[in-house]
Each structure stands twice: as structure tokens, then as C-alpha cells.
Amino acid sequence: MKRIFHVTTFTFRELIRSKMLYIWLLSAIVFCLLAFLLSILSFGEVHKIFMDLGLVGMEWSGTLVLLLSLAVTYNTEFEQKSIYLQLAKPITRGEYLLGRVLGFFSVISLVVLGMGLLIAGLVAFVGGGQVSPMFFYSSVFLLIEMFVLTTLGLTFQMIGTSMVGVVLYSMFTIFLGHCVGQVEWLLNQNLAPAVKTVLRVVHFFLPNLEAFNLKDRIYDPNLIFGWEQWREVLLYGFTYSFVVFLIGWINLEKREFM
């Protein structure tokens, strides 16, 4: 356990000091400016605009930081081979991977929550409204989504053979993961059996990122939100992450470092 913690803190420090975190600052500024601009045009309900845009901004900045971190660390760890020195130490590959996942997730959480606090501050002090509890629930759902994406991204890093490949796999999975609803709609259409089989396979493997998407339903009057929903999302998020982590771990165990 201690070794996992050491890898986590090492990874955290590596990412938090990286220049790519300026992206986060930049996106925070852009979203704030955009929110102000739209609030001027919206004739009231400023706090709603702040919250909507803020949640989108949190997701975007978290995803962007993840993709950039994957690219930068692939270069350091695999192309420049700094992973060799670490795996030669008395640490298992599973411990190393788990430490990396937790290190990445810590940084991404910080980015997402930092942005969330900024938005909450804007809503309360500038928008003159109250921060709805749904905003916090959405943020937690977003964090679970980020955990799934972090595990996926790092698993791609363990499988991938190039930095571009790792980033592209991750980007496509994130994009398609948000299209699970469309895939389900297609499955209900009258399609050729072969197409349906392919779609079923895709549907089975893809992460259902819409399951974590509460931000689009914050103002839905018919939204039922209780313990059942929490349990479902938590169970799905962590089970999916665990399975993906296992795949990454097995791949890292079998990986040959040429």
C-alpha cells in the first residue's frame, strides 16, 4: 500500500507542476468570460447560465487535462523509458498502475473541483442566486466519470504503442461514450442483424458516459433522484473502472519493453 501511495504522490507532483495545467486556468477564464457574456444577453437567471456553463467547463477542463497528461507522460514513461527505472524497483506492475491511476485522478479532481468552486462562487456572489444541491451532485457524478476516463486512458497507455494512438483511442472512447444513447436508439431500429450485432458489441464495451451526465437534467422537473440513482451510478462507475483496470494490469504484466 505504501508503494502505491509513493507512486501516487510522485505522479501528482509530476502533473501538478506541469505547464499543461495552464490549460485549466485558460479554460476557467474562457468559461467565466463566456458566462458573463451570456448572462448579459439572457435577461435574468444569470446563476443558471453560470451553473450550466460551469458544469460543461468542469467536464471539458478535466477531459483536456487528462488527454494532455496522457500524452506527456506517455512520452516520459514509455518513449523516454523512465518506466524501466521504476519497474526495476521492488514494486509490482499492478501497484505501479494503481498509483498512476490515483495520481492522475487526484490532479483531475483538483482541476474539476477547483473549477466547481469558482463557479459556485460566481453563482453565489455575482449571479445573486443559490447554488442548487443538484450542482454538487452533478459535480460528484462528473468526478466518477473522470475516474472511469482516467482508468481507461491509463489502460490505453499500457496497451498503446504510440503517444498519438493513446490520445486518439481515449478521445474516440470519450466521444463514443457520450453517444451510447444514440447507439441504443439504433438498436431499437429495424437494422440488418449483422449491423445490430456490431452495435451490441460496441454498446457492451463502451463506457456509458451518459450515465454520469446529470448536468443536462438539473432543471428537469420530472427528474427522480435518490439513493437508487446514486447506487446505480456508483456501482456502474466503479465496476467498469475495475474491469478496465484489470485489463490494463494484465497488459502491463505481459508487456515487453523493447
Binding site: 509513493h6 507532483r13 509530476e14 502533473l15 507542476r17 516520459t76 524501466y84 527505472l85 521492488p90 514494486i91
Partner: protein, 319 residues
């Protein structure tokens, strides 16, 4: 009589890479039936040209590659065993680290992976920083380090766990003469403390001064294993370069046994006929400006073992 303890035992090790498309597969035999024993507390140098299979051997020893055939025992166990890895230090060729950390933080990280913590970790990091002469730059970010400093931090991380066995892949790469000497001194000190050294290198001088035994790998096959003193005392012949005054260059024609003549300044001659040649030059009133060996005994031995010619002075300059 007790049998010697082995630090590394390699038995019949082979590694084959398959590359290319399935229609045109290409098979590369990186290692062919390598069998080698490295004894505890000895310094062993694995020599070979680029592509000879040295790095592949190290990667298999450390578990980064799976052998196609054969087995490796390291400190009496398997590399997958955490206890075994805790007793090993490894320095890769041109080590690379995350640029966001300081040298001290890196050593603390690697030390903590070896199980050090608290004051024991701080003490060990201090000792290693002193040993690799990086104390002054310890709190600077790695991004500002020179190649030599990176190499020193690299050897530092390899030594942080007080290894019984140190495995280094081209440890002198990228070092300037001062760094090279410092690294060599570190190896000599480690030998004195009973650390087993397994060095994969090109640099003959390093081998001569540090190693007890050498193995020569060529095209994936172990060609020779020999004691360094035996090699140095062997009657192997090396070539010499005789520098002559440019006015006397014309008198060199017809001197027997010369291997090559550079324009106007001298000739290459086998060590076997050196005394006779110098006598002959003296008789011809050729003014010799100097005589220098074109290779070390170790280099000549290495080249002879792999079936290569000793380099001419122009080749040496161009290389």
C-alpha cells in the same frame, strides 16, 4: 570446498523477435543460447558491438523482456520476486526522469520504493547525493540538469537501495572526461564494498580498470569469457603508429610489414615487428617523432574475438 555464490546465472538463453507483416515476417535472433555465470562480489563487463544483444540480455535479466528459451536466476531467485529486486540497482543507458522533480525528490521517490522512510530515507538520500556529487544541485529541477548530472542522478537512484548487485547499461554514455572518471571511481569504490557489478559497455578503458572478468557478445552469441588480468597479460599483438618527420616520409617506402601509410607523417606497424622497424628507420636516418599504440590490449583482444580488424588512424579519428 564451498561452491561460488552466483549473482546471476543465465542458462541457454535465447530471444527471438518477430517483426514485419504476417505475409512477410522477419525473425531476428537477438540472443542465441547464452549461458553465463556472474559471481557475487565480482565486476563483470559484457562487451559487444551495437546490436550484439547486450541490452536484450539485461532486459531479460531484469524481466522487461521474456526469453524465447532458457532461464535466468538472479541472486538465487527470480526477478519477479520483490525481495530479489530490492537487492538490485539498475541504471539504464541515458536515464530519463520526469522533468518536474528535483534530484532530491527523485532519489526520495526511488528510495521509498525500496522501503526507506522518514529519517532513514533522508539519511540515505544525503549519502547518495554526496556519493554522486550532486548535493549542490539536489534541489534544482531535473529539467535544468546536464547529461552528466542526469547520469549521476541515474547512478544515484540505482544505488539508493544499497544494492548487492548493480546492473548498468552503458553507464559512461554522455559523460565528459571528469564525469567519466568520477563514475569509474564510484564503481571502484563499490567493488571495494563487495557490490557485484554487471556492466554492459563499449568503453575498453572502463573494463580494464573496473572489471574482473569480461564476456564478449557478438551477433547474440557469447564468444568468450576471460579474466581481465589474463587478457592484459596475453601476448596479443597490437598495432602502433610511428610518426616521422615530414621531410623523411619518402624514406618510408620499402620498409617491410607496414600496414598503412598516411600522407607524409608516418606508418602503421604491427607490434610484433616494432623493434626491428625502429632499428631499420634509424639505419635509414629517418627521424621518428613518436610511437603510439593504436589500440589497447583489451580493444585488440575484443576485435580479435569478434573477427574485426584493428582500426587505422583515420578510422579512429572519424569514429
Amino acid at each position: 570446498m564451498t561452491s561460488p555464490a552466483y549473482a546471476i546465472q543465465i542458462k541457454d538463453l535465447s530471444k527471438t523477435y518477430k517483426t514485419g507483416f504476417w505475409l512477410k515476417p522477419k525473425v531476428t535472433h537477438a540472443l542465441k543460447n547464452l549461458t553465463l555465470d556472474v559471481f557475487e562480489k565480482e565486476a563483470f563487463g559484457l562487451l559487444g558491438l551495437n546490436g550484439a544483444g547486450k541490452t536484450t540480455a539485461i532486459k531479460i535479466i531484469l524481466g522487461f523482456l521474456a526469453p524465447t528459451h532458457g532461464s535466468v536466476s538472479i541472486l538465487g531467485g527470480k526477478i519477479s520476486d520483490r525481495q530479489v529486486r530490492n537487492q538490485i540497482g539498475y541504471l539504464s543507458e541515458l536515464p530519463y526522469f520526469s522533468r518536474q522533480h528535483t534530484g532530491r525528490e527523485l532519489l526520495e521517490y526511488f528510495g521509498s520504493l525500496h522501503g526507506f522512510s522518514g529519517s532513514a530515507l533522508s539519511k540515505r538520500v544525503y549519502e547518495v547525493l554526496e556519493l554522486v556529487r550532486m548535493t549542490k544541485a539536489a534541489n534544482d529541477r531535473v529539467s535544468g540538469y546536464s547529461k552528466g548530472m542526469l547520469q549521476r542522478i541515474g547512478i544515484g537512484q540505482a544505488l539508493i537501495g544499497k544494492p548487492k548487485l548493480l546492473i548498468c547499461d552503458e553507464p559512461m554514455s554522455g559523460l565528459d572526461p571528469v564525469g567519466y572518471k568520477e563514475m569509474r571511481d564510484i564503481f571502484i569504490d563499490l567493488k571495494k564494498t563487495g557490490t557485484t557489478l554487471f556492466l554492459n559497455t563499449h568503453i575498453m578503458d572502463e573494463v580494464e580498470r573496473v572489471c574482473d572478468r569480461i564476456g564478449i557478445l557478438h551477433d547474440g552469441q557469447l564468444k568468450e569469457v576471460a579474466l581481465v588480468p589474463d587478457v592484459l597479460q596475453s601476448s596479443i599483438n597490437i598495432d602502433y603508429w610511428v610518426d616521422v618527420d615530414s621531410h623523411d616520409a619518402s624514406k618510408l617506402s620499402g620498409v617491410p610489414f607496414q600496414k598503412s601509410v598516411a600522407e607524409q607523417n608516418g606508418m602503421q606497424i604491427s607490434g610484433l615487428v616494432l623493434p626491428e622497424t625502429l632499428t631499420l628507420l634509424s639505419q635509414r636516418q629517418v627521424k621518428t617523432k613518436g610511437v603510439r599504440p593504436l589500440s589497447s590490449v583489451m580493444e585488440a583482444y575484443f576485435l580479435k574475438t569478434i573477427g574485426a580488424q584493428q582500426p587505422t588512424p583515420s578510422e579512429r579519428v572519424s569514429s
